[in-house]
């Protein structure tokens, strides 16, 4: 008897000790859900920021925070990439497109109390222009054609005409100039704080920096002196890094976070049905595509590329892997971009036609090749490997045997960039909402070796794209881009697959959140009910 009693007692103690650790009131679980007297929003995301100096970072996670700390001279619309006043109240552009005069907003202060003025703008641009360091100021170099003294540099000078007027003089007209200025990397920071900006940012934005626990969270608080009357509505914003998508959704359900991006498409239905949650969709500014290495046989033959265009069933892909949250693509850029060519007819899914074209190209029995699939989910491609399998299955029906190949992400990009991939899945999210940032960046012969992974080279296209870059007349530009898309459709260096609308989720009580197509959101208007 005693033996059994001892056994039971020990079992009991063990159970108790495990239970004790967890046993306590569950009333206060769901950290910080509370009644939100202090309006504090916790934003859950997949990774931490790299740094908080707008000019030196290139990653989306950094921009998400930066966008709330700083302002740019001009800003994008609430959910589009139209240009609106911000730190500059008004501007004038000379007829030749070479002089931009900005009238700055009065009474704006940096978070450290310093006045915002023309001098501050000049100093920011001087910092970037004169550095000559394209490793450090990568975005500056790529958007404005290098640095002071470089042949292609766009900006000749930036001068303060008076306290509140800044004049930009350009070396050559740059059509997307204003759109570029609205990009987060060109946020205006407090002069003289350059060295500290990486970890102690000082801007004019709606929120002020409080602290940063690396790999964990960044805390911001309301900027009481923000120049937009009565804004921001939140008292505090905390960006938390929770790497795993399912885990992040769990944290949202328990109220540990209030808003999250990076929702698995397969979870959207569940979110919609959960009465405590709501789903948001980011307007698409991306394209997911299947690229061909146009320098490699047999993809150097236009007919082969067209044949494969006929052999991809985009609708089923969207149904299977995007849960419907995407639209089929027919051009290399999404329809929200000015200059999108509506009139192009997508290659219909037609295996017979595909076979016929292959036969004409001299491959009646098809061929063997590799199809590269990206190893990581991207907004434009939630599951590269599965999408590749589906596409390969279709290709097999026309005799094209594609072996699926994948590498770790960094390696994948590097190898694809060097032209080692015959066929590959990739995509692009626009930087500034301009057609140039899609067509020139991804498909012009100048960008072979960088973003032109197809290594597509076409002189006619090049002529059009370069002309469009320096045409200030927006209607004329749009026409040029439409022409460019006709060539791209005919030459078919890609199979444009989809423009996806990445999903976000939040608790029901959130109001005023409008996801921005650029992928980083200003939370100025967000509040809790």
């Amino acid at each position: 008897m005693m033996k059994k009693g001892f056994l039971l007692a020990l079992t009991f103690i063990m159970l108790l000790s495990t239970a004790l650790v967890g046993c306590n009131s569950n009333s206060d679980s769901g950290d910080g859900d509370g009644d939100n007297k202090e309006q504090a929003l916790v934003f859950g995301r997949g990774g931490d920021s790299v740094a908080l100096d707008p000019a030196i970072v290139t990653d989306g996670e950094s921009f998400k925070v930066i966008k709330n700390l700083y302002d740019t001279l001009v800003e994008y619309g609430e959910q589009d990439t139209e240009i609106n006043p911000s730190l500059a109240e008004d501007w004038k552009v000379s007829d030749d497109g070479l002089t931009y005069t900005f009238m700055l907003r009065e009474g704006v202060k940096f978070h450290n109390g310093e006045e915002f003025n023309a001098e501050a703008v000049v100093k920011n641009f001087e910092r970037w222009m004169t550095s000559g360091d394209s490793g450090k100021f990568a975005y500056y170099a790529s958007m404005f054609g290098g640095f002071k003294g470089d042949e292609g540099h766009v900006i000749k000078s930036v001068e303060a005409k008076d306290d509140m007027t800044v004049v930009f003089t350009l070396n050559r007209p740059q059509a997307p100039f204003l759109k570029n200025l609205a990009m987060t990397p060109f946020s205006i920071a407090a002069p003289g704080e350059w060295d500290k900006l990486e970890t102690e940012p000082v801007g004019t934005g709606p929120f002020k920096f409080v602290d940063w626990k690396r790999n964990d969270r960044i805390t911001l608080e309301k900027n009481e002196n923000y120049w937009k009357e009565g804004l921001p509505k939140l008292d505090k914003v905390i960006f938390r890094a929770i790497p795993d998508n399912s885990n992040r959704l769990n944290a949202l359900k328990t109220g540990e976070i209030h808003l999250m991006d990076g929702v698995n498409p397969s979870d959207v239905e569940e979110i919609k049905q959960n009465e405590d949650l709501q789903a948001f969709f980011r307007p698409s500014m991306n394209v997911g595509y299947l690229g061909f290495n146009t320098e490699m046989e047999p993809f150097n033959d236009k007919k082969v590329r067209q044949a494969l265009n006929h052999a991809v069933d985009k609708e089923s892909l969207i149904k299977a892997f995007y849960e419907g949250q995407a639209e089929p693509a027919k051009n290399p850029m999404p329809p929200v971009i000015a200059g999108y060519n509506e009139e192009i007819d997508a290659y219909p899914f037609d295996l017979e036609k595909a076979k016929q074209l292959l036969a004409e190209a001299g491959y009646p029995d098809g061929f063997k090749t590799e199809l590269w699939a990206m190893p990581v989910p991207r907004p434009y491609m939630p599951d590269g490997k599965k999408a590749a399998e589906a596409i390969a299955a279709n290709f097999e029906k026309i005799g094209v045997e594609a072996e699926i190949v994948s590498y770790e992400w960094g390696t994948y990009l590097e190898k694809a960039q060097k032209g080692e991939a015959p066929m590959f899945l990739l995509g692009w999210t626009g930087d500034n909402g301009d057609a140039d940032n899609f067509l020139y960046t991804l498909l012009d012969k100048d960008t072979i070796g960088s973003n032109n992974y197809s290594r597509f080279s076409n002189d006619e296209l090049h002529k059009i794209l370069v002309e469009a870059q320096s045409t200030p007349d927006q209607d004329k530009r749009a026409e040029l881009y439409k022409e460019a898309q006709v060539i791209l459709h005919e030459e078919a260096p890609w199979v444009p697959l989809v423009h996806s609308e990445p999903a976000l989720a939040g608790v029901k009580t959130i109001e005023g959140f409008k996801p921005h197509p650029t992928g980083s959101d200003k939370l100025t208007n967000v509040s809790f009910k």
Binding site: M14, P243, N247, T411
Partner: protein
Amino acid sequence: MLIPVLIGMSLIVFFLIRAIPGDPAQIILGQQASEEAVAQLRDTLGLDEPWYVQYFIYMKDLLTGDLGNSIRTHAPISEEIWPYFAATLELSMFAMIIAVVIGVNAGIISAWFQNSWFDYVAMLGALIGVSMPIFWLGLMEQWAFAVEWRLFPTSGRESILNPVESITNLYVIDTIIQGRFDQLQMVLRHLTLPGVALATIPMAIIARMTRSSMLEVMRSDYIRTARAKGLRMFWVVYKHSLKNAFIPVLTVIGLQMGLLLGGAILTETIFSWPGIGRYIYDAIGFRDYPVIQSGILVIALVFVTINLLVDLLYAAIDPRIKYQ
């Protein structure tokens, strides 16, 4: 012993990570970057130097206690690494305590009541424990204990709106020092789910090891004598048997502790625990060479130290084991 192991380790890690394809400069600048930008950054980072030159520079810095700077954040690693390391240390210690307390006791009871229902249940549990994927276990824990029953938070080290003021970065100790027992409870609740997930495998291994080791000892003559003399059973188990059965168990504990420290990556990812596993994992994604090599070196150092401690403990438990 310690120094050659660490030098060997540093060499292996140094060259292995450089064998991973992928250029840090390219990865840092991303898809958006131009060729010149990448070339320039490579130059700034000193990545154009031959491997052996880079290694000697690294070793020279290391000797002066300089672990180098992170490529990604530019911050000195020696300053940056402690909070991550502390987070992992706390989690592993917590997990180890759970694993040892439950594992050892379950092993003892199973041995003592060999072939009882408890024995069967415990050993079946141990079998499931060693074969359970941590990832799956973690998500199940979250689903049940955090989402459905709201007993524990799903992730992180602390409540975000009630953060701990860190002194040592070991939050359990910090909250005790500050007398913030409400926060201590909060910290323990955050520790529980990842702690249990992390403890599962070592717990199972320790339980099995203890059981077999105890069985062996209990068959020995002196225990039979002790039992025959009618000594209290508790005394027999915990004084006479365990002391002798504990040496192999201690080896296992030492090994598992090292594994926990280095192998917490999955747990840290699922529970977004800002520990060293994730620190290194993220660094691998960014090809942040200095962070990877220094991070692994620090773990290796701890591993070697733990093994040394285990060896010393042997001698303390059993004086027959002595080192020259």
